[in-house]
């Protein structure tokens, strides 16, 4: 029996490949360090959900290996799932059920299910016990999923677009809950989203995916520190070496060029304005990296 304390990475993905007609998740590699939140970023159809479904063994993979909490995600599937919670963008419970029913169902499923903890979260989130889920708002449904996810001492939360469609107030509440969850060093979160502002607030590390390929992975602060956007005239753009450019957005007024080594470019192109960037911009420029120039 694995000791759930003795592992370095909550998730280790090696050469994960899933092939569909017209789309391939192509040799995905990244880790989620124990005690951290990984923001998994990509536009719609990039492969985030496919990666998460492979992780959770919802779909078959063609190649690769996945370790979660130090264990193989297929051989030790049930041991992992006792310590794992999944949160999806839509509530996976029938509208006819209520929170009381869910307690009855899940306490039979998870060995460490804590009904008092669950009821505590429901009280905290202001969720009624006997109201049908069909009468819940979207925000209430997400909080319910989170309450269920946090009520069996899970070591790992895997969230697929969990905050999509929520208003800013509810999103903020959810993010606070995730940060609270992470106060225990043994807890980790993998959170996929295209709402990069949420991930900028909470993520420790980020992984960008596009068209089934990993574009970039690393600590969020390092990624933000090393990337920048040069804003200049079109004439000046021609002076910048292609090897330094991730991609460039060319408009009638000038050029905005994403660089991946801000410190070096600051010295090399000292006459040009080099601004800090955001995760959203990084995603945009990397998605257009194949084109090199775009508008």
């Amino acid at each position: 029996m694995n000791d759930f304390e003795n592992y370095e990475n909550a998730i280790e993905i090696r050469d994960l490949t899933v092939k569909y007609d017209g789309f391939t998740l192509d040799h995905i590699n990244f880790d989620v360090a124990k005690g951290s939140i990984m923001g998994f970023i990509g536009q719609n159809g990039a492969g985030k959900t496919t990666t998460i479904k492979s992780l959770l063994n919802i779909i078959k993979r063609d190649e690769g290996s996945i370790k979660m909490l130090g264990l193989d995600n297929i051989k030790d599937e049930y041991a992992i799932k006792e310590q794992l919670s999944a949160v999806f963008d839509e509530l996976p419970f029938d509208d006819q059920l209520n929170a009381k029913d869910l307690n009855f169902i899940l306490r039979d499923v998870y060995r460490e299910w804590d009904s008092n903890l669950y009821k505590g979260y429901l009280d905290r989130f202001g969720l009624p016990m006997k109201k049908k889920f069909g009468d819940f708002s979207k925000g209430m449904k997400m909080k319910l999923q989170i309450a269920a996810a946090l009520s069996h001492n899970a070591k790992l939360l895997v969230m697929d677009e969990a905050t999509t469609g929520l208003d800013p107030v509810v999103r903020n509440e959810c993010l606070d809950i995730f940060l609270e969850y992470l106060q225990d060093e043994n807890h980790s979160i993998l959170m996929s989203s295209h709402i990069t502002s949420d991930l900028e607030k909470v993520a420790d590390s980020v992984t960008f995916i596009n068209k089934g390929k990993i574009l970039l992975t690393g600590y969020k602060d390092d990624v933000l520190d090393t990337h920048g956007v040069i804003k200049c005239k079109k004439a000046d753009y021609k002076e910048i070496e292609p090897a330094d450019i991730v991609s460039a957005r060319i408009t009638d007024y000038g050029a905005e060029i994403m660089v991946s080594d801000k410190a070096m470019c600051r010295n090399k192109y000292s006459g040009l304005a080099l601004d800090n960037t955001t995760l959203e911009e990084i995603m945009l420029y990397y998605v257009n990296a194949e084109k090199k120039e775009w508008s």
């Binding site: 029938d94 169902i105 998870y110």
Partner: protein, 255 residues
């Protein structure tokens, strides 16, 4: 498994209550008809039309059972609603073995069928007692045989539902089966009419027809007797085969 069985009953509450409601309604109607034949307005009718009245009472005896057993198919319906709500994907993230997840549906279906069957037997016994007769062995055999048939149909539908994952596809399978049956029976019927019209016996019920009818009846009764006498073997065997197929299909991961 208790929680998952509870989920099945909770999700199908409306399904159960509609059919159970109709079963209770027909049950009460049966009582009223029998009571009325003993000391009410139907007394003379029952005395003058024994055969017809006997037929009406037997239909009323079976109707509550028929309504009740339809509710068993709630567990098939819930397979599709689980796919619709993504509960099936969510269940793949739970630490429950496929045998437990799938077995909960079978348990719910079997419990419902057992309750319906036993309830119908009790109802028939009480109805017979009120009518001043004994519960016929034929009736008991018929109820047991129908229970086995319903169980076999359920055991067929569950793996198909779990494998198809889509109620429209199941409806399509049902329609294709119905069309095929209709076509086969239709061809038989056309052949028979063609032969009879050639030899001029189309408008008459011949001795041959009577013999064919009796043979068919004997076959049906023979099957009924086998089902009624060996239900304790047929049901477990069918259950195990169906459950194993369903578990295999549930475990089949999409790509």
């Amino acid at each position: 498994m208790r929680g998952l069985i509870y989920k099945e009953f909770k999700l199908n509450r409306k399904f159960y209550s509609s059919f159970m409601g109709m079963a209770i309604m027909f049950g009460l109607l049966g009582f009223l008809v029998v009571l009325s034949s003993i000391c009410g307005n139907l007394k003379n009718f029952a005395a003058d039309n024994k055969d017809l009245f006997g037929f009406i009472v037997s239909v009323l005896t079976y109707m509550p059972f028929a309504m009740a057993v339809f509710s068993v198919f709630g567990v098939v319906h819930s397979v599709f609603s689980d796919f619709k709500t993504n509960w099936t994907y969510y269940s793949y993230t739970l630490p429950t073995k496929p045998m437990v997840t799938v077995g909960a549906r079978y348990a719910a279906g079997t419990i419902t069928l057992a309750v319906c069957s036993i309830g119908s037997m009790i109802y028939s016994y009480i109805l017979a007692a009120v009518a001043g007769t004994e519960l016929s062995e034929t009736l008991i055999k018929n109820l047991v045989a129908i229970t086995v048939i319903v169980f076999v149909v359920l055991a067929f539908c569950l793996p198909v539902a779990i494998g198809l994952k889509d109620i429209k596809k199941l409806g399509l399978v049902g329609m294709i089966a119905f069309i095929l049956l209709t076509v086969v029976e239709g061809i038989d019927m056309i052949k028979m009419v063609d032969e009879k019209s050639k030899d001029g016996t189309l408008s008459t019920y011949t001795a041959e027809d009577e013999a064919a009818g009796e043979l068919m009846e004997q076959k049906i009764f023979a099957v009924r007797d086998i089902l009624a006498d060996y239900w304790f073997i047929i049901i477990p065997v069918v259950l195990i085969i169906s459950l194993l197929i369903s578990v295999k299909l549930y475990q089949r991961r999409e790509k």
